[in-house]
Symmetry: C2
Subunit: 390 residues, 2 copies
């Protein structure tokens, strides 16, 4: 078991009536608010009007940046940073899913730099300790950005999608009303659910000797929640309990509670970021294609017990099976969850992706180094896993 630090000062307001506290949280931080959002969904469902009214009626000044992309670009973050500088913005308010919140974090970080450019921070791996405060109004259960210290920013000129981290990027407050996810398209609900699942899977059982039972048990609870409630949300999009369990699972997956000294390397996430960087696909879908192949690839006598435990605890695989058989059934159950229950297409070729960029993706993903995890992977291993996904 490894030593760890847990610290998450985000104040989360969760539930049907949570938004009424938005003005109080914003006013703690200032009066000039930059509202950041993506497409028009928040205009269609009324959330945009509600937020604008709350801001204006409480004596704050409102500025706007719309059009944040599903894989948010550094150029969009920089545009926001320029508005912050020009208008003297006090707080960046993200209203949307993970992409909008990530972009807002990029804006907040760039806005306090001299050149108002987020990319040097991203590409330089700078740990951000100074940024404008970010407040998040969450409309999708997926990335965990509403409670974590990370943003993922894409540079489409260089085909790079990289995480930007820093204590200053944890939102000061987050608002989570499960009803805001009622109108999400089926595909977004499915992709979001797998993103949550994979945040935990990427971090599962890596705690050295795996004796930190409480941590494993809580990780399994979050994965079980996704397996149980995602299908309910897909069939009955206005089921409050389903949406609420998924939304809180999203926050739990990355708020640090499930980290506890694990070696958080996120191999599936790193591999998927390359796919999104080259092909601009939806993150959760890419993960669903990669994760079962990754488990299949790393399965051996040493990893079988961990993979089998996952199946027993999360998918209800028979605990009496030997660990190799149980592990194989776990991978089948995961594939069934991804490709039948969530209804996601199972191969990269279904998304029009071939092996053209594989060498570049392997090179970016590993930087020539091995990737630690349940089993350490060489760049050659990573290439083989990509090819299993084609």
């Amino acid at each position: 078991m490894n030593d760890f630090v847990f610290h998450n000062p985000d104040r989360v307001h969760f539930g049907k009536k949570c938004l009424k506290e938005l003005p109080n949280e914003l006013l703690k931080l200032g009066k000039k608010v930059l509202l950041v959002y993506g497409g028009g969904s928040i205009k269609r469902n009324g959330l945009y009007d509600e937020v604008c009214t709350l801001i204006k009626d409480n004596g704050m000044e409102l500025f706007e940046l719309s059009g944040v992309e599903p894989n948010p670009r550094h150029t969009t973050a920089n545009k926001g940073a320029q508005i912050c500088k020009k208008e003297g913005i006090d707080v960046v308010l993200a209203v949307g899913g993970g992409s909008t919140i990530d972009c807002s974090k990029g804006i907040a970080a760039a806005a306090v730099t001299d050149d108002l450019d987020v990319w040097p921070l991203v590409s330089g791996g700078v740990w951000v300790t100074k940024a404008l405060p970010v407040v998040a109004v969450l409309t999708n259960a997926a990335t965990g950005s509403e409670m974590d210290a990370w943003a993922v920013i894409s540079n489409m000129e260089t085909n790079e999608k990289i995480g930007l981290g820093g204590s200053a990027l944890i939102p000061r407050a987050a608002f989570e009303n499960p009803e805001w996810t009622y109108t999400l398209p089926h595909y977004q609900t499915a992709c979001g659910a797998f993103d949550i699942f994979n945040h935990v899977l990427d971090n599962y059982y890596l705690a050295g000797d795996a004796t930190f039972d409480l941590l494993l048990d809580m990780q399994e609870a979050v994965m079980r929640t996704v397996v149980k409630w995602a299908p309910v949300a897909l069939k009955d999009p206005k089921n409050y309990e389903a949406r609420a369990n998924l939304m809180w699972a999203s926050s739990m997956a990355l708020n640090g509670i499930l980290d506890g000294g694990t070696v958080h390397f996120c191999v599936c996430h790193m591999m998927e970021h390359e796919l999104s960087a080259y092909y601009d696909i939806t993150h959760g879908h890419g993960l669903a294609i990669i994760a079962p192949r990754w488990l299949e690839y790393i399965l051996d006598e040493n990893t079988a017990p961990a993979i089998c435990r996952l199946g027993v605890k999360v998918f209800g695989i028979d605990a009496a099976l030997d660990s190799m058989t149980g592990a194989k059934k776990t991978i089948e159950a995961l594939e069934n969850f991804c490709f039948n229950t969530l209804g996601l297409q199972s191969n990269l070729s279904d998304l029009g992706i071939d092996d053209k960029h594989i060498d570049d993706m392997v090179s970016h993903c590993c930087g020539g180094r091995n990737v630690p995890g349940i089993k350490t992977l060489t760049p050659d291993d990573i290439e083989k896993i990509y090819r299993m996904c084609l």
Copy 2:
């Protein structure tokens, strides 16, 4: 499912080498430190010397208050508040278990009042939003005070033991090294373990319609951890995994993560506080006597499913049983855990307690009102449960 707010800004440093960050955390808050502790255990195990050296070697000024009682008195907190005022203390550093941390919170709250008296805050039910900062170095896994917003303070003149709460009472930082619990006596380990278990049990399945699966699942994970690892720690006091799982379970049980909109009324805790106030017994032991009788008393057709789920998930009771049979087996399993596995005596008479003060305890505990929970309890119900414990 109810709306909720989650906010816990405590920065927890966990593990064998965590204490090296103590000077950094203290120096963020000031240079004059009041070190608060109980008896001599931290002198015997070397922790006292280590803490004092870290403080002095890093240019801070050290003041001391020792002799905090197991059920900390308001008079001791007031003594500490006077030192704070006189010496201009910047930060109150608790080194000990829950009693020491609770007393330190009382000191921190009283120190910023005009009359330097914590009791008006306690008895007046004041929500404390202003206090000196508290830092906790935890040496027992039990009360959760290292990560929560509460302190329990006793007034032995009036036989009152009451919770003092407030956002300002959450420690700014906590240090948890499981090795510090290696030298705990068997009895303290057992009582602490049940305190953790009961914090979750008191809050279990009260989420209205009980559809917040993720919350229930995480609550069960913490209770399972206690059931699995407490016996290991009792048999093998220097087992790091056992001590670490219990220590983190202590923090998880009350840091807000398991609250999520539950109706946190804590009936067993309220009943036990009366016992400690009148008889100065160890809190966790009182809880272990009360909790199984409480479940037995409230068992009926409506509560059986919740109690049965507890048994299935936490004690491995057969899920195929009907809920009434399963619930009865759950109560048996809980009694077995308390009185055999933990080895705690099962009746109040074993602790020299008779029915002399029952009327007063009922009156204090309920204040003439009903107590909500899995099943609402009248003062008459509370009296009957006390009598079952004799």
